[in-house]
């Protein structure tokens, strides 16, 4: 009969030899193996002190970037919301008033910008769709909550701080491969 797998082993019910009946050689063999493990590298990562590094292209919690002058880049064009396969992004656009030039980069801006982190699948399509380089995915994690409501992140959680010291670095994810992928015209959403 054809064996079902390549890994099947023949089992025999032969009588144990004297050496096997003694158990001791087998026990000593086992003890040698465990003793070897004493000196192996520990697999534990000491979590709060040491953190497991994320992959450079890790897609985590979003950030809405500001430009060099600290103005919000987002113009509420809605392309990210259209590109979002999970329909997690909603926004309300508003017109910039005179005197708000230091806050918003262009005449139109997002008065409300919300991402539902429970819906988001962290695909990164919003990042690719954005023509203003305003939204990026970062290596930060979305914290756990007790209710559903707090998972809808508003601008206060998404927009990065204006202080140049506290800006969120998104350069790590923008590898040449990622940038080339974003320019690739054969993806429909890039057209």
């Amino acid at each position: 009969m054809e064996p079902l797998t390549q890994r099947s082993k023949t089992v025999s019910d032969k009588k144990m030899t004297f050496a096997e009946k003694l158990y001791l050689p087998a026990i000593l063999g086992g003890m040698r193996i465990t003793f070897g493990h004493l000196f192996k590298k520990k697999t534990t990562i000491q979590f709060p002190e040491a953190k497991r590094p994320f992959a450079g292209v890790y897609r985590g919690r979003h950030v809405l970037k500001r430009d060099e002058a600290g103005r919000e880049r987002c113009t509420a064009c809605g392309l990210c919301a259209v590109a979002c396969p999970a329909e997690a992004i909603t926004m309300v656009a508003a017109e910039r008033k005179p005197g708000e030039e230091g806050l918003y980069r262009e005449e139109k801006y997002a008065a409300v910008y919300e991402i539902n982190m429970l819906r988001c699948i962290f695909c990164g399509d919003c990042e690719e769709a954005c023509p203003k380089e305003a939204i990026f995915l970062t290596d930060r994690l979305v914290a756990s909550e007790y209710q559903r409501k707090p998972f809808i992140y508003g601008k206060e959680l998404l927009v990065e701080p204006a202080d140049p010291e506290k800006r969120i670095d998104v350069s790590e994810r923008q590898t040449p491969e990622v940038l080339a992928f974003k320019k690739d015209r054969q993806h429909k959403h890039n057209n």
Binding site: I27, G30, M31, I33, T34, F35, H37, L38, K40, K41, K42, T43, T44, Q46
Partner: protein, 340 residues
């Protein structure tokens, strides 16, 4: 006379404190060693290297709910762990911890009681130890506890026979039942293990069974019996049971070191010309190292071997160890008789 009494009391309390301390830290060492064997770090959060972990565990046990099943026999339920703990602490009385020390020109023995039936005393006390487990398991009024207790008693009785038989050869060679006498005949490197390797092996295997350690931890056997005899125990009563296991480990290590590995003797140590008290201290450290070595073996085996099946346990005890031990006695007898 008064001096001697005071000294004995200090020594006895010192040894009690020592065995409690060692048992306390054995719990930490066990978890550390378990971690290392499994490529982990083991507990390292409470204090540096987790040194405060036993304290944290102890405090936790003290503050746990004192639970008692309402169908349990109240008196026996409390007697069980108390007896186990008491018996565990009693055994250390006859173990010689080192050569005599000299205080104010008088020499004192580093042994609480040098009774001339030391070995018999140890076996008597260890045999009482099974009552603590049996009473606890019976008094809990729980089928798993009872099964654990029944297993414990049958296992201990089965292995005590082979254990005693393996010791008889030592007694035959030494011609004495006194622990001190046995140690003193193993000066230098003249250890009993070289003459009685089979006896040592039998004793070692039986020691695992007597202390209810893996691979013979069938009385606890959490995979089949929930917790075995201590299923219904909580708080410090459970703590006593667990603690007694570690004290027993320490004491059986000491007994094995004394009977087979020359106790506190080490080759060349008496030629160093140390002053008596320093010599006693170094000798004690030698003995302690040997005990630690046995402690490590106990843990090493625990984290290597799976538990025996019950019929395998009985088969090993009665059909292998017993005949081997008897054979060992016979061969030793023949050799002594004909002065080979």
């Amino acid at each position: 006379m008064v001096n001697a009494v005071v000294y004995k009391m200090i020594l006895a309390s010192g040894i009690l404190v020592l065995s409690l301390l060692v048992a306390m830290y054995s719990t930490l060492v066990e978890r550390k060693v378990a971690g290392w064997f499994q490529d982990r770090h083991g507990p390292n959060r409470a204090g540096p290297w987790g040194l405060l972990q036993p304290l944290a565990d102890g405090i936790k046990l003290f503050f746990k709910e004192e639970f008692m099943p309402n169908t349990a026999d109240k008196f026996l339920y409390i007697l069980g762990p108390s007896l186990t703990m008491l018996v565990a602490c009693l055994t250390s009385a006859v173990i010689p911890w080192g050569p005599d020390i000299v205080i104010n020109g008088e020499s004192y023995a580093l042994q609480v009681a040098d009774i001339n039936i030391g070995i018999l005393y140890i076996f008597a006390i260890v045999s009482v130890g099974v009552y603590g487990i049996m009473i606890g398991g019976w008094a809990s009024n729980n089928k798993y506890s009872l099964l654990g207790a029944v297993r414990a008693s049958s296992q201990m009785i089965s292995y005590e026979l082979a254990m005693s038989l393996s010791i008889i050869t030592i007694v035959m060679m030494t011609g004495s039942l006194s622990m001190r006498e046995i140690v003193n005949q193993q000066q230098g490197f003249n250890w009993n293990i070289w003459y009685q390797p089979l006896g040592f092996l039998i004793f070692l295997i039986c020691a695992f069974a007597e202390t209810n350690r893996a691979p013979f931890d069938l009385p606890e056997c959490e995979t089949e019996l929930v917790g075995g005899y201590h299923t219904e125990y909580s708080s410090m009563k459970l703590g006593f049971y667990l603690f007694a296991e570690y004290i027993n480990m320490f004491i059986s290590g000491a007994v094995m070191a004394t009977l087979f590995l020359g106790g506190y003797h080490f080759p060349g140590l008496d030629k160093l010309g140390l002053s008596p008290n320093v010599f006693a201290l170094v000798s004690f450290l030698v003995l302690f190292t040997k005990i630690t070595f046995f402690g490590f073996i106990f843990m090493w085996v625990r984290w290597t071997l799976p538990r025996f099946r019950y019929d395998q346990l009985m088969k090993l005890g009665w059909k292998s160890l017993m005949p081997l031990a008897i054979l060992n006695v016979l061969v030793t007898g023949v050799i002594i008789l004909f002065n080979l």
